[in-house]
Each structure stands twice: as C-alpha cells, then as structure tokens.
C-alpha cells in the first residue's frame, strides 16, 4: 500500500504485507502491512489491542504469521526457528532489558556466540570494548549487566543487535523509564545510527516523541492497518483520530454515555487527599461521590494502576491519605480497606484475582469467609448458598459452585472476581481494567454491574485505558506520567481522551486542527 515509492532507492529495511495472525478465535493481525525504508525512523502507533506487539513478534520471528509475507532488505524472511538468521536481520529492544543481569556486559554482548573451546576472557573483553566504542557506547565491558542503568542497558542491546549485522531495530516503548535528558541522549544516538543507514521501528505511547524522532508513522487499529504517512504531513489531531477511528468516535459520541453528573451529590464516599507514591505518581486529590462512577484513565506507565492499588491498600502511599465516608483508612492494608468498605477488582485475574485450582464458590467467598458461619467457621452449606446467589445475580455460566474456577471462560472468571468484590457490599468499588480479555457480551454485563453499584447509591472507580470501560463513567480523570493531565465530564470524545492519555495536552488536538 505504501511501497512503490522506493523503486530506485535501496530496498526497504523491512517490508511486510498481508500479514494475518490468529490466536484461537481472536484475530490479532488482519492483513496488515508495514514498510520501513532503509535509514528511516518509522513510528508504529495504536491503542492497546491494535496489534502492535503481535506485529513485533512476527517481525522478530517469534510468531509465524498465518498468512502474508515479510522480507528484509528485499530478501524473504528467514525460516522460523533459525534464530541466528533472524538476529542478523532484526532486533527488538524492549522496555525491560533482556540482558542476563548476572553476566558481564562483554558476556551479554557475545552470548550464544562465544565460539568453541576455552573462553579467552581478555580477548573477549577487548572485542566487547571495540564493539561498544564502534557504536559510541560508553560502558565498561567488565561491568555486571544488572548494574547498568536502563539507558546503558538499551545502548548495550542496540550495540549487540548491530553487531549481529542487523540493520533494522525495533524499539518497544524505549522511553518509558527514561528521564528527559536520557530520552534526549537516546534520540541523539538513534539519529546518528540512522545516518549510518540503520532503520528503526519506534513504538511509543508518547505521541510527542513520534513527532520529535520519526519521519514516518503507521497507525494500526483493531488489528488493521489504518494509514501510513510522513509525520510532517499529519497533524496531531488527525493522528489521534486515526488511532481512535473517526467514524467509531462519532458513533460512540452518539451512542451511550453515562449521564451527566448530578451535582450537589453530597458527601464524597471516597476521598484521596494529596495521595502520592514516590516514582509512580505525584500528589493527587480525588473525590468520588455517592452514585458516581469515576474513571482513572491512563496508559501503562501513567500511574493510574498504582493509584488504584493504593486506594485498595495493596500499596502504601508515601504521602497523603485515603478517606471513606470521611474516615481515614489505614494505609497499606487490604483488610482495613475492605473493612472500611472498599471493594477491589484486581488488575490481572490470573495473577491477583483468582486461586485457579479452587472452586467458584471458594473464590467468590474469599473475602467474606467471616460471614459464612459462627466462631470463625466456614460452613460448606452457607458457602454454596452464597456462591449460588452470586452465580444467579451475575449470571455466571458454571456447572455449579463446586466447579474449579480455571474451567470457566475469561468473562465468567472475571464475574467471579467481581462477585467477590461485591460480596461485602462495598461503599466504593475499585475496579482495575475490569474487562481485560473478556468477550464483548461479558464486557457489557461486567460494566453494567459496576454501573449498578453507583445506581444503588454507592460509588465506583474504574481504572483503565479502555475507552469502553471509561464510557460508563460520570467523570474521567486522565493521568500521564504520574500527573493528572486532564479531567472530563461524561461528554468527552474519544479523541480528547486518547490524546490526554498519550500525553498531548488537551488543547493540543484542537490547536493542531486550526
């Protein structure tokens, strides 16, 4: 779709077309393509679920596409499993460094290609020093890789990739853990390498960086390719519109939104006063009134999840306090938060939500075991009865309370997690990404359960980056890099919220339109 422009130019660093990848019933990539010219720095943007990470897996040889073809510098991609061949074509530098922390930098650089026979340490170190010097990386080859800063680690990985002969490097959110000066140094280095003919595919949630670094941008949405354009010709507003889908945005605006907040709602049920957690988010004030659903929007590293986890007592704030109905909650204690009336739907149901080997009944009653019998006993009959009630009220599809929760579908598992959060009839329900990985139908019913909490006079907080989750909120507070960047009533457009979550100031979208 975008090729054809480089007939007399060198072949593109990477060219993919018609790539299809399915995982079971889910289509992760639906006939997408991408072309990165040699020496270009190309941005790939899209919201969660757009297919970015799947494309990275396909381009690095981790996944074999179900259809379509990939070529590097005009040659077809190596066979699946031929790691050495892939390494000579492409490398991906992830957010988290993939180096082996307990080995030295030199060993990491030559991992898997130390040669046969005895390791000559001095030669290896000299070789590593040469390599690092060649790419201008100022790191001691004898240092332990785990002692490097994030920035140094990324440089080492880039140098390692280049030493394999790769001329195409994928950077997956490389700036998420860097400070401004570090980002500047990284960009300077990347520009130098670009001049040497290295091509980059840059994946970031920070749209400003796309404008700072990249010359071309490709947008994916819902597993499909939306557009590829030179960055200079694409306004920020158009870019955000492409990510959210203008048509879809228009529809959604016309479709259901939570009704406007009823003001004069009285006492806030949940209040955060100057709540802060060092390194994750800065002091934040938040008030959630009875009958209100408040959204905490934000991308992965925005601090919204950490804020949610602080509210429920999983993390201990470094400053500020949380109050429920005017009374302070003891910080950093889930039992106290529960006692104060905060219900919690954790982020990842497999990691934090469910005890997978145990039954539906046990999982649903995990936080109400004190109500299931006298003197600290848990009577099976009461547990079953309680679970049966939950199963009925949330319409959980299960063969019965005794079924292991691991046998349930994702949507029904999530309902069990929500059932447990509701079991104590909380004053405030804090739900973190409540609809992650569930089908559309379950999504609606899960969100309506959360909405129902507010409707019966309690309050709810939804922490998410999913627009569908946030649509049920009366009010949305958007976080970016640990700070509140914008606040919306219920009438927000997808475009405004997404630009806020991607770090563009609220006015930015409109400014670019003019």
């Amino acid at each position: 779709m975008t090729n054809g422009t480089n007939d007399h130019a060198p072949p593109p660093a990477v060219h993919a077309e018609g790539v299809v990848k399915r995982f079971g019933p889910t289509v992760a990539l639906d006939g997408v393509g991408i072309t990165v010219a040699a020496g270009d720095s190309h941005a790939l943007v899209g919201r969660n679920g757009a297919g970015k990470s799947t494309l990275v897996s396909v381009l690095t040889g981790l996944h074999v596409p179900d259809a379509g073809r990939v070529s590097f510098q005009g040659e077809p991609a190596p066979a699946a499993g031929d790691t050495a061949a892939w390494q000579s074509k492409v490398a991906c530098v992830y957010q988290k460094s993939m180096v082996v922390p307990d080995l030295t930098v030199a060993e990491n650089l030559f991992l898997g290609r130390l040669g046969r026979g005895r390791i000559r340490w001095s030669a290896l170190r000299a070789q590593a020093a040469d390599l690092l010097a060649e790419y201008g990386v100022d790191v001691d080859p004898a240092a332990r890789a785990g002692d490097l800063t994030v920035e140094q680690g990324q440089f080492v990985e880039i140098a390692r990739a280049l030493s394999f002969g790769a001329r195409f490097i994928i950077l997956d959110e490389p700036t998420a853990q860097l400070d401004a000066a570090g980002i500047e140094r990284l960009f300077t280095r990347l520009r130098e390498l670009q001049r040497q003919g290295v091509a980059f595919l840059f994946i970031s949630h920070h749209l400003q960086e796309v404008y700072d670094l990249c010359s071309t941008v490709t947008v994916y949405r819902d597993a499909r390719h939306v557009l590829t354009a030179p960055v200079a010709e694409l306004g920020k507003a158009e870019l955000v519109a492409a990510m959210t889908g203008e048509d879809a945005g228009g529809q959604a605006a016309a479709g259901w939104h939570a009704k406007a907040v009823r003001d004069g709602g009285g006492e806030p049920v949940l209040r955060a006063e100057g709540l802060a957690l060092d390194g994750l988010y800065e002091p934040i004030d938040l008030a959630v009134r009875a009958g209100e659903v408040v959204g905490l929007a934000g991308a992965t590293a925005s601090g919204n999840t950490a804020l949610g986890e602080t509210l429920v007592g999983l993390r201990k704030a470094t400053a500020g306090r949380t109050l429920v109905a005017g009374r302070p909650v003891r910080p950093g204690s889930v039992p106290h938060a529960l006692g104060a009336g905060i219900g919690y739907v954790p982020e990842d149901r497999h990691r934090q939500g469910l005890v997978l080997g145990r039954s539906v009944a046990e999982n649903a009653t995990l936080s109400v075991t004190d109500q299931l019998g006298p003197y600290g006993t848990v009577l099976p009959s009461k547990t079953r009865e309680f679970a049966q009630r939950m199963i009925a009220s949330l319409d959980i599809k299960t063969s019965g309370p005794g079924q292991p929760v691991s046998d349930l579908s994702g949507g029904n598992q999530q309902k069990v997690v929500i059932a447990r959060a509701l079991a104590r009839e909380p004053r405030v329900l804090v739900a973190i990404r409540p609809t992650a990985g569930v089908d559309v139908k379950s999504k609606d019913s899960l969100l309506s359960v959360v909405r129902g909490v507010a409707e019966r006079g309690d309050a709810a907080v939804i922490v998410s980056d999913e627009l569908d989750d946030l649509r049920v909120c009366d009010r949305v507070v958007a976080l970016f890099h640990g700070r509140v960047i914008a606040e919306f009533g219920s009438g927000w457009t997808d475009r405004d919220l997404v630009s806020a979550m991607e770090g563009l100031p609220t006015g930015g979208g409109k400014g670019a339109e003019e």
């Binding site: 529960l338 005890v355 009220s393 309506s448 359960v449 129902g452």
Partner: protein, 345 residues
C-alpha cells in the same frame, strides 16, 4: 442504560441449571486414592508373613507412625500454604533436649546434668515452647527478612542438630521426668495414647482446614498468594502461625518419641525429613501449594510405614530401607505428575 440494569435484578432466584444433577467428580475422591494401596499392602503383608495381621504388629506400626505423622501434619499444612520447612526433623530432637537441659538438676545421680531452672512438670510446656520458638524464628526469617525458605530451614536443620549435640554432649538422655514420658508410654483403650492423640490432632487439623476461615485461607495463600492478599487475607500473619504450628507439632512429636523409647536419643529424627516429604507427597499434597488434604497426608504416612513393615517382615534387610524410601518418593512423584498433569517442581 436500560439494558444494563437487568443483571442485578432478582438476585435471590437460584438458577435452575445450578441444580442440575451433580456430575461424579473424580477429583473429589483423590484423597481416597491411597486407601486401595493400603488395602493391597495389607494383603501382601498377610501373604508374606502370618505375623503381619496380628494386633501387636499393627499397633506397633501405628505407634511408629504416630511420631512421624505429627511431622507430616505440620509439613502438610506448611506445604498447603505454599512454604516448606526442612528443620522439623531437628526440632523433634532439639526441643526435648532443651527441655531436659532446663529441668534436669545440675548435680545428682543422673547421668545427664542440666541447669535445673524449671521444675520437672514444666518439661512438656518448655519443650512445646521451644518448638513454637523455632517455627516462629523460621517465620521471621522467611516472612520478615524475605530469605529463601528452603535455605533458611536447611540451615536451621543443621544448626539445631548441632545445638542438640552440644547441649546433650552427643549422648542420649535416659532419665526423663515421668510427666514427660507419660504420653508416649501410656496406653488408652487398648492402643497407645500416642495413636489416639495423633488421630485427634489430624481430625482437629482436618476440620480446621475444611471448616475454619483461617484454615480455608491456607489453600488460597498456597494457591495464589497475590490473590489472597488482594482479597484481604492476612497472608503473612497466617503463614507465620502455620510455620510456628509446624514447630510446635514437631516438638510434640519429640515428647511422644521420648516416651515411646524411654530416652532422648541423640539421633532422634535424624533423616526423617525425607520420609516426611515422601509421605506428604504420596498423600497428594502439592509441593507448589494450595492443594491436598490432611487425610491424604495421613494415608500417605500409613502407606509408607506399611511398606517398610511389610518388607521387614518379608525378610528384606533394614539396610535397604533408605533405598525403598527413595524409590517410593520417585515413584510417587511420577504417578502424581501424570495423575494431576501438574508439574511437581
């Protein structure tokens, strides 16, 4: 919005499908899986030797089982909540020795001289307190200092064994207060008191794990610690209590052992931890935590002791015992790996 509120309607109406005829769930009977094995062992024993099916022999097996079973009881609870404690086998020896050291007079006709700071009747409470302290210390190391539990308890195993050798000067203590040896020696209703005590403790433990909120919490903690914490379970506190209880049970096993053999043996409990693990694993307790029952663990100990008894009666020299234990562990691991499809690592 109208379509969104219907889900919360009629919460009290039970779903008809939930009442569908219950399927027979094999997993529910997993606890009973060793009963046929025990039966087969009995039949083999009967064929191998006429002495097997005598009350003397069977009561002997049960009495020998009793001390080991208390360690298994403790270890099973610790494993269910996702931890492990290797030091139990040293606690069974060091706790009685410390108790003797505290109660035995510093001079007199006895061959062992302690410091005599406590009266004789205090020997059992002192012994139990020592066990509790050891378990509590393990908990402190594992939960507060966040040290690897395997290494800590391995270190404790060696250290406590050394402490026992030091205090007892490497010798067995043959004079023990009457109150101390009573429980291990006495016979109630035609069977050793120790056997009754163990049965009661297993019953109490089994009921606690099945019907008490804190008992149920062990399964949640072992199955998914993060989820248990997020659900408001006081994970550290409960784990700590379980580790302390494990020490307490091991110390109590020491009391029964001393009464049974009439002396505090210098090698008491030495090497038992392998049998403890073998019995718990054979009994269906998962090494990964969150799975297993105390009844299963009990059948595990009994099966293990029956194997040893049958082979002894069958004339297999006792020098092969260790080989047998090892082989049983390996076979049990292979079987449970394929029976549950779960990795035992």
């Amino acid at each position: 919005m109208s379509e969104t509120s219907q889900l919360t309607a009629d919460p009290a109406v039970p779903r008809a499908a939930g009442r569908a005829a219950p399927r027979i769930q094999l997993s529910r009977y997993r606890d009973l899986s060793l009963l046929p094995v025990i039966f087969v062992l009995g039949v083999i024993g009967f064929i191998v030797s006429p002495a097997f099916l005598t009350s003397d022999n069977l009561i002997g097996v049960l009495q020998q089982t009793s001390e080991l079973s208390l360690l298994v009881l403790g270890e099973a609870m610790i494993l269910i909540c996702g931890r492990m404690d290797l030091s139990l086998e040293s606690t069974i020896g060091v706790a009685p020795v410390v108790a003797m050291w505290l109660v035995m007079p510093s001079s007199g006709s006895a061959t062992y001289h302690g410091i005599g700071v406590l009266p004789g009747w205090m020997s059992i409470p002192a012994c139990l307190a020592v066990g509790l302290l050891i378990g509590g210390f393990n908990g402190f190391m594992i939960l507060k200092l966040r040290v690897n539990g395997f290494i800590v308890t391995l270190g404790m195993l060696t250290m406590l064994r050394g402490l026992q050798d030091g205090i007892s000067q490497g010798k067995s203590i043959v004079e023990v207060p009457g109150s101390f040896s009573y429980l291990g020696k006495a016979s109630w209703l035609g069977a050793p008191a120790a056997v009754w005590i163990c049965l009661v403790l297993f019953a109490v433990g089994g009921l606690a794990l099945g019907y008490l909120r804190h008992g149920r919490a062990l399964y949640a903690i072992g199955g998914n610690t993060e989820a248990a914490r997020a659900a408001g379970i006081r994970v550290d506190r409960i784990t700590w209590i379980v580790l302390a209880l494990g020490g307490l049970l091991a110390a109590f096993a020491g009391v029964l052992y001393v009464g049974h053999y009439g002396a505090v043996s210098s090698t008491q409990g030495d090497g038992w931890i392998f049998q403890v693990f073998a019995a718990t694993v054979i009994g269906g307790v998962s090494l990964n935590g969150g799975r297993g029952t105390l009844f299963g663990a009990l059948t595990g100990v009994i099966a293990l002791q029956l194997v040893v008894n049958v082979t002894t009666l069958g004339g297999v020299p006792p020098l092969w015992d260790k080989f047998l234990y090892g082989a049983i562990i390996i076979v049990a691991l292979i079987i449970s790996r394929f029976a549950s499809g779960e990795k035992q690592d």
